[in-house]
């Protein structure tokens, strides 16, 4: 009998350890993120490149790539041939690998950005910005569009005039691309709210959890994300963000910054670490949830993400010299985890998030999910890095086993040694 009791107790303990402990929640709400993008305030009245209060000269223009190459030591004839669509070394998908080798001594500028001078990516000069007050100091940062002071978003200050980020909500090219990929099944992020009070709209003890889901978003006939589908949480050893908050009239605001959380980045970094993380979300009349999530993110992985995404492609499509992004992030970094005098390895940042109602379940799909940690349930294979579809080495695509290296001088001119038709003037 005693043995049986001990067995039951052991089984109960095992079950309790295997699954997250049930919280004493009075209410829970589930959501699926249908769109999220860096909070980049657009100060122009139309378009995506026009001058505005944010960027008085408009979006940073496309570099003159011929000049960039000549400045890097190539002859004009070589520069024209490297940019010529008829050049067989210029891939229609991966761009011109030789663009990497324009540092001192033909160094690869993607992995050695300081081997070339800072070209000076023009940042935001306006005062209005979106995001969160991360340092509890209303005298630093931007003023929000609704007049709140102290909005810390140095990421926006550094990169807000870069074409990939500039534009009204949901219309910048970077946000369109990443969210379309998410909506087409590349990943899913879900949100769980839970509270201990009686009224979700006004509750002093709210917990908010952001998780990956193993289930893909479902589109409706109009191409939007359909609400009220069911999603199972996908446990991940790293990507999980849990916040403590309170709700007042439906606005859910952090009660304290979270030391460290991790989310799925909607950009090239893939993994987003946020230090001193906070949120400011609002329950919407249609049942949705929208607002900001932010903190201090490490800036070097942002740069490395663009390098991994193929330097020549990013440069051509987003109108930027990639090393200038490195310099801009380093210049505007505003947080050191080791204290005020430490190296500024992090930069203030916020996401603009929109989520729709959904049924969020535990990983085993046996019950509604709570806003608690599921990391203990993650298997190693659940957290495997996403494979790259291309063999990217040092920022360029090369055949497997090959090195990322500069072309020999003899290959830098067309076979006839005269610039073929199709070259830019």
């Amino acid at each position: 009998m005693k043995r049986s009791i001990r067995l039951r107790v052991a089984l109960a303990l095992a079950a309790a350890l295997a699954a997250p402990a049930p919280a004493l929640a009075a209410w829970t709400r589930g959501f699926a993120v249908e769109w999220y993008e860096p909070a980049m305030y657009y100060g122009a009245k139309s378009g995506t490149t026009e001058p505005g209060t944010d960027c008085p000269a408009g979006t940073n223009p496309e570099p003159d790539w011929i000049k960039v190459l000549i400045d890097a030591g190539y002859t004009r004839e070589q520069a024209l041939w490297l940019r010529n669509p008829a050049n067989p070394t210029r891939s229609p998908v991966h761009g011109q690998n030789q663009m990497a080798f324009r540092g001192a001594g033909r160094a690869n500028v993607y992995i050695n950005p300081t081997s070339t001078p800072d070209g000076g990516l023009v940042g935001v000069s306006g005062d209005i910005g979106e995001g969160l007050d991360l340092d509890d100091d209303p005298t630093t940062g931007f003023v929000s569009p609704t007049g709140e002071r102290g909005i810390d978003n140095a990421f926006y200050r550094a990169l807000g005039c870069w074409k990939t980020f500039r534009g009204p909500p949901r219309l910048s090219s970077g946000a369109l691309s990443s969210n379309d990929a998410m909506r087409d099944g590349a990943w899913t992020m879900v949100v769980v709210l839970e509270g201990r009070g009686q009224d979700p709209m006004n509750d002093d003890d709210v917990t908010v959890g952001f998780y990956l889901s193993q289930d893909k978003l479902v589109k409706d006939a109009a191409g939007g994300v359909a609400p009220d589908y069911t999603f199972r949480i996908k446990p991940d050893r790293k990507l999980e963000a849990i916040f403590k908050a309170r709700s007042v009239n439906g606005r859910i605001v952090s009660t304290r910054p979270m030391d460290e959380v991790w989310m799925r980045d909607a950009g090239m970094a893939r993994e987003l670490q946020l230090l001193k993380a906070r949120l400011d979300l609002t329950l919407q009349p249609d049942g949705g949830l929208s607002g900001y999530v932010g903190g201090y993110r490490p800036w070097k992985p942002v740069y490395d993400g663009y390098v991994r995404a193929r330097g020549p492609v990013i440069e051509a499509l987003t109108w930027v010299r990639l090393p200038d992004v490195y310099y801009a992030l380093r210049r505007h970094a505003d947080y050191s985890p080791t204290g005020p005098n430490g190296e500024k390895t992090h930069i203030s940042f916020a996401y603009r998030v929109s989520a729709i109602p959904a049924f969020v379940l535990t990983p085993d799909a046996k019950r509604s999910a709570r806003a608690t940690s599921y990391k203990a349930l993650a298997r190693p294979e659940d957290s495997a890095p996403e494979p790259s579809p291309f063999n990217v080495v040092d920022g360029i695509v090369v055949p497997k086993g090959a090195k990322a290296e500069s072309l020999p001088e003899s290959a830098l001119l067309p076979p006839s040694s005269t610039t073929a038709a199709g070259g830019a003037p």
């Binding site: 139309s46 378009g47 995506t48 490149t49 026009e50 979006t59 496309e62 790539w65 940019r83 010529n84 669509p85 008829a86 229609p92 998908v93 761009g95 074409k163 949901r170 219309l171 090219s173 369109l176 691309s177 379309d180 990929a181 087409d184 099944g185 590349a186 289930d215 893909k216 589109k219 409706d220 006939a221 109009a222 191409g223 051509a316 499509l317 987003t318 109108w319 579809p389 038709a421 199709g422 070259g423 830019a424 003037p425």
Partner: protein, 449 residues
């Protein structure tokens, strides 16, 4: 009609010690009174072709479009990017609003769109399809009895074809007009209207050589693993097609009223600039059209430009693919100006292609009237690699089965409905197409006469 002979009758005899067969010409005896069908009630052949171009047509993030007509049904308006189709507008149906439903599979950019249209399922991996492309099913159904079961051609100089029986091995296209000409009208071509036809003993010899390795082929198939078996199956399919082709070379071809072997094209122009690609498209269209008219083939696949199209305007340094991504939307006009300009130029290729098919008189109509061309792309709004609102056109009368000249708005339905419709329009006995969320048994009946 004669009780002893019909259009399928063969005269059998011997030549040089070899048995040969001799087909009979299309005698009036075998035709109905209208010149539209054989007297036994069977229609003159219906042909089918796919036409692919890369990077879709121009949409805008705000929901506008440079190509979707504002009205549905017949007599749609010609929108700016459809202007090159104006000469054949009444023979072209426009299909907008159809999309790929991935069933959780991510969008593999510049691949998922057309792979899903052709195979009926969003692919799991790039450069592979999860099933055969449906053109092979069409070829099996209607492509027999002619010299080439399928013809594959690519106009941009790239060895690109999306036609596959296995999902992993793809057809090898002819990439220049000269290559295509040589295949069609070089050695092995028999003028169906030539009066002094005799079978070529060298063809009989080639056929015997192939037959001799049949046993070894089967033995090899039994020895290899699954992956190699798939590759070999695709390879031996082409061998079997070659055997059938050789066998046909020993039959006297039926005369074809519209067939006139064209002159050999000039030396090939190479390069991906849009003027070269469109010039090659027009020349190759003439060749393909004559191949259909000469009853050399009934099914073809044509690639104008690949998915991530590298075509460009001569003198410019940017390629089309790059422009679709990097060009901002014009704030005043609401669309990408240069992208739309290139889309219009790319559509000139399709317009020229269809015009060439329509220029050949056949019976009481044109070759295009007896053909169905399904033209489609890999993306909708190329800037973001969208797989919604992928532009698709069904061109040609399919022998009277296609109710042409309509705009069909798909409203988010699966692209497989169009693929199923195309197959049924050319007479393939198929009741459903696609897998999972794209499985459909509903053709677009508005397009069916």
């Amino acid at each position: 009609m004669s009780q002893r002979f019909n259009r399928r009758s063969l005269l059998r005899g011997a030549l040089g010690g070899c048995a040969v067969t001799l087909g009979l010409p299309a005698l009036d005896l075998f035709l109905d009174g209208h010149g539209q069908a054989w007297a036994d009630g069977k229609r003159l052949p219906v042909r089918f072709g796919t036409y692919f171009w890369g990077l879709g047509l121009t949409d805008t993030p705000a929901g506008g479009s440079r190509w979707v007509p504002t009205t549905v049904g017949p007599d749609y308006e010609i929108t700016p990017e459809l202007e090159p189709l104006r000469p054949v507008k009444d023979k072209v149906s426009v299909l907008s609003g159809f999309r790929v439903i991935g069933d959780g599979r991510p969008n593999l950019v510049h691949w998922t769109g057309h792979a899903a249209i052709l195979s009926g399922v969003a692919p799991a991996a790039i450069n592979r399809m999860d099933g055969p492309s449906f053109d092979t099913r069409v070829a099996d159904a209607i492509g027999g009895g002619v010299r080439f079961k399928v013809l594959d051609a690519s106009a941009s100089g790239k060895v690109v074809s999306y036609s596959t029986r296995t999902g992993s091995a793809f057809a090898t296209p002819d990439t220049t007009p000269v290559e295509l000409y040589t295949r069609l009208f070089g050695p092995g071509f028999q003028d169906p209207n030539r009066p002094d036809w005799t079978p070529d003993p060298s063809i009989m010899l080639q056929q015997s050589v192939l037959s001799a390795v049949t046993d070894q082929r089967q033995a090899l198939l039994a020895d290899v693993g699954r992956a190699d078996r798939v590759k070999l199956d695709q390879y031996f399919t082409s061998v079997r097609e070659l055997e059938q082709q050789l066998a046909l070379g020993l039959e006297r071809p039926e005369p074809c009223e519209s067939c006139a072997a064209p002159p050999e094209p000039e030396a090939p122009k190479r390069g991906a600039s849009i003027d070269v690609v469109n010039s090659n498209t027009r020349t190759m269209a003439k060749l393909l059209a004559m191949a259909l008219a000469c009853n050399q083939a009934k099914v073809f696949n044509f690639v104008h430009t690949p998915g991530a199209s590298e075509t460009y305007i001569p003198g410019e340094s940017k390629i089309y693919h790059q422009i679709t991504h990097d060009e901002p939307t014009d704030a005043r006009l609401g669309y990408q100006i240069e992208t739309s300009r290139l889309a219009g130029l790319v559509m000139e290729g399709l317009g020229a292609f269809l015009t060439e098919l329509d220029a050949i008189k056949e019976g009481d109509g044109t070759l295009l009237d007896r053909t169905l061309v399904m033209a489609f792309s890999d993306t909708g709004y190329a800037k973001i690699h969208s797989i919604e609102n992928i532009p698709i056109f069904l061109a040609g009368g399919a022998g009277g089965r296609h109710r042409t000249g309509q705009h069909i708005a798909g409203k988010g339905e699966a692209v497989t409905r169009v693929s199923l419709t195309a197959q049924q329009l050319v007479g393939v006995s198929v009741g459903e197409f696609g897998v999972g969320g794209m499985r459909t048994s509903r053709p677009i009946t508005e397009l069916m006469a």
